[in-house]
C-alpha cells in the first residue's frame, strides 16, 4: 500500500474512570477500541458514527491532541501516535491540520483574522517579516475566496460561513498534505454548506490534499466521500467505497442508520434500505455490551452475538464488514 498516506494499526484509546477517595480506577471509557484502516493519498475518507462511536477521539489521536493507549498511527514512515516521535519531529504538525466543527469557537474572538492566520506561518518559520506575512495571509484569504482586507476583522463581524473559510485558510497555511475535517459544516445553514463543501473539494483537487471527513450527516457523506467507515462504540462496523456502502449496506447498524435519515424527496426515500426501526440507544462506552457490542439493539442478533466479538472480514470488493452474519467474521474459538 505504497500510496497510503496514513495507516491506523489497531489503535486503542481508553480513558480511565476513577472514583472514591483514593481515585482508584474503577473502569474505563473505551472510546477507541481497536481501529485499523488506511487513508490513500488524495482521497476523501468519510468517518460516520453517532455519539459514543469514538470518531472524535480517533481524530484527536491522529492530531496529537490525545495520545493513544496502544496501537500505532503510521504517517510518512513514522508512528505519530508516539509523543516522543512528535517531540523529535515538530514538522509533523505542518503536514497534518484540522478544521473544527464550530467556527464560532475555533477562532479566537479576541484576535483578528490576520493574527489567527499568521500564527501557523510564524510557528513554522514560513514568514517573519511584516510584508511577507501580509502577502501570505492575503494569498490564503484569496484561496478561500475572501477579500484580503478581511484580515483586519474580528470573528464576530463575520458570518458562520466566512468564519469557516478562515478556519480552512488556517489549515492550509502550512501547506499540509492531510487535513482532518471534524463536522466542518454541521454548524452552518444548508444554503451555506454547499459552498463550503465545494470549496473544500476544489482545494483538494488543486492541492492534492487527503481528507479525513467526519460527519453524522449521511446524505452529505454520500456526495463527498470516496470511501466510508461506519464506527460504533469504538470499532469500525463496516467500511466500503461510498456507492457500495449506500447501495449495499451489510451491517445491521449501517442499515439502521440509513433508514433513519430524514430525506427530502420520494426518490431518495426509495433508495433507503427496508425500514429498520431504530431501537434503543447507544450504551455508554464505559459499559460496552459483551460479544458484539451492537447485539442488544440488533434486530438480527442470534445465538453467537452476545458471546463472541466479531472480527472484520472482506465481504465484497474493498467492502469490509464486522458482523457474525457474514463469513469470516466469527473467529474460531476452542
Amino acid at each position: 500500500m505504497s500510496d497510503s498516506l496514513v495507516r491506523l494499526d489497531n489503535l486503542i484509546k481508553h480513558f480511565p474512570l476513577r472514583s472514591g477517595f483514593l481515585m482508584r480506577q474503577v473502569g474505563s471509557v473505551k472510546a477507541v477500541d481497536g481501529v485499523s484502516f488506511s487513508l490513500r493519498r488524495g482521497e476523501t475518507f468519510g468517518l460516520v458514527g453517532e455519539s459514543g462511536s469514538g470518531k472524535t477521539t480517533l481524530a484527536m489521536t491522529i492530531l496529537g491532541i490525545v495520545p493513544p493507549s496502544s496501537g500505532a498511527i503510521w504517517f510518512d514512515g513514522r508512528d505519530i501516535g508516539d509523543p516522543a516521535v512528535r517531540r523529535r519531529h515538530p514538522e509533523i504538525k505542518k503536514h497534518i491540520q484540522v478544521v473544527f466543527q464550530d467556527p464560532g469557537s475555533s477562532l479566537n474572538p479576541r484576535r483578528t483574522v490576520r493574527q489567527t492566520l499568521e500564527l501557523p506561518l510564524r510557528v513554522h518559520g514560513l514568514a517573519s517579516r511584516d510584508g511577507q506575512i501580509h502577502d501570505r495571509v492575503a494569498r490564503l484569504l484569496e484561496m478561500v475566496e475572501l477579500p484580503a482586507d478581511y484580515m483586519h476583522q474580528f470573528p464576530h463581524a463575520l458570518s458562520g460561513g466566512q468564519k469557516q473559510r478562515v478556519a480552512i485558510a488556517r489549515a492550509l497555511a502550512t501547506e499540509p498534505s492531510f487535513i482532518v475535517l471534524d463536522e466542518p459544516t454541521s454548524a452552518l445553514d444548508v444554503s451555506v454548506q454547499g459552498k463550503i463543501i465545494s470549496l473544500l473539494v476544489d482545494l483538494q483537487r488543486r492541492l492534492g490534499l487527503t481528507y479525513l471527513f467526519i460527519t453524522h450527516d449521511l446524505s452529505l457523506m454520500r456526495n463527498v466521500a470516496d470511501r466510508v467507515g461506519v464506527m460504533y462504540l469504538g470499532k469500525v462496523a463496516e467500511l466500503a467505497p461510498t456507492t457500495e456502502l449506500f447501495t449495499n449496506p451489510l451491517h445491521p447498524y449501517t442499515r439502521m442508520l440509513l433508514s433513519a435519515i430524514p430525506v427530502v424527496s420520494d426518490e431518495e426515500e426509495r433508495l433507503k434500505p427496508v425500514k429498520v426501526a431504530p431501537r434503543g440507544e447507544t450504551p455508554s462506552p464505559s459499559r460496552i455490551p459483551p460479544g458484539c457490542s451492537f447485539h442488544p439493539r440488533c434486530p438480527e442478533a442470534f445465538e453467537v452475538c452476545p458471546r463472541i466479538d466479531p472480527v472484520p472480514a472482506p465481504a465484497a470488493q474493498e467492502h469490509i464488514v464486522r458482523c457474525h452474519l457474514y463469513p469470516g467474521c466469527t473467529p474460531e474459538v476452542s
Partner: protein, 292 residues
Amino acid sequence: MSTVAGTFRIARREGAARAWYAFSRNSTSVAGLIIVVVVVLWTAFAPWLTPFPRHARAFTDIEHANQPPGLPYLFGTDTIGRDIFTRVIFGYRFSLLLGLVVLSLAVPVGVALGLAAGYFRGWPETVIMRVTDVFLSIPPLALALAIMAVLEPNLQNAMLAVSVMWWPWYTRLVYSLVSSLRQEAYVQAAEVVGASPAHILLRELLPNCLPAILTKMTLDMAFVILIGSSLSYLGLGVQPPDPDLGTMVADGAKYMPDLWWISVFPGLGILLIVLGFNLFGDGLRDVFGVEV
C-alpha cells in the same frame, strides 16, 4: 474601499463605540465613571484646584482651628487649623496611589500564576492553588495587620502588605477562566498548529481573560482603598502630617460628636470614591458579561 489598516482601526473603533453604547444605557454606571474621573482629575491637579494647598503639609494656624463648615473653609478646619476640604482632596492621592501600586504588583503576579496553574495542570496546578487557598482562607485585614506588625508603619510597607495578600484573588479568577477556556476549539487549533505554550497563554488565553480582570481591578480599587484607609485609621499606613482619609477619620474620632466635621467629611470622601469605583465596576461587569 478604505485602506487595509484603516479597516482595522474602524473595527477596533466600532468595538469601543459599541461597548460605550451598552455602558451608557445604565445611568448608575455612568455616575460611577463620572465620580471616578472627577476625583482623579481633581486630586491630580489639587495644588491648583484647592483653596489652601499649603494645608496639605506641615502647617498650623491655631487661630482658625476647630472652625465648623462654612466659608472659606468648606468642610471646616481641624484641631490645628488646617482646611479639611483641601486635605480631603489631597488625601485622595494617597488612596489612589495605594490602589494603583497594589494592583500593579498583585495583578501581574496573580494572573501569571493563574495562567500557569490553569493551563499546565499537574503539580504546578496543585502547588499554586493550594498556596492560593491558604492565602484566601485568611481574612484580608487580619493578614495585612499581621504583616504590618513586623514592619515599620509607613505607606510603602502598607502597600507591600496589601499587595502580598491581594494576588491570590486574581490567581483564582484566572485559574477558573483558563480551566474552561483551554477546552475551546481555538486553543486546540493553536496547539495543532504547533504554537508554543507561551503563545497560547499570552496571546490566546490572556486576552479572553482581560474583561474579567479589568472589571475585577476596578471593583478592587474600591476595596483596596477601604483596606488602606482601615490601616491608616489604625495608624499603620500613611503617617502624619501627610493627609490620608483613614488617618483623618481616626484623628477626628476622639472629638466626636462635637467637632463632627473632622471625621465625617473624610469618611464621606472614602464613601464617595468607593461608591464610584463600585458603580463603575458594576457597569463594566454588565457590559462585558463576566461573572466576577
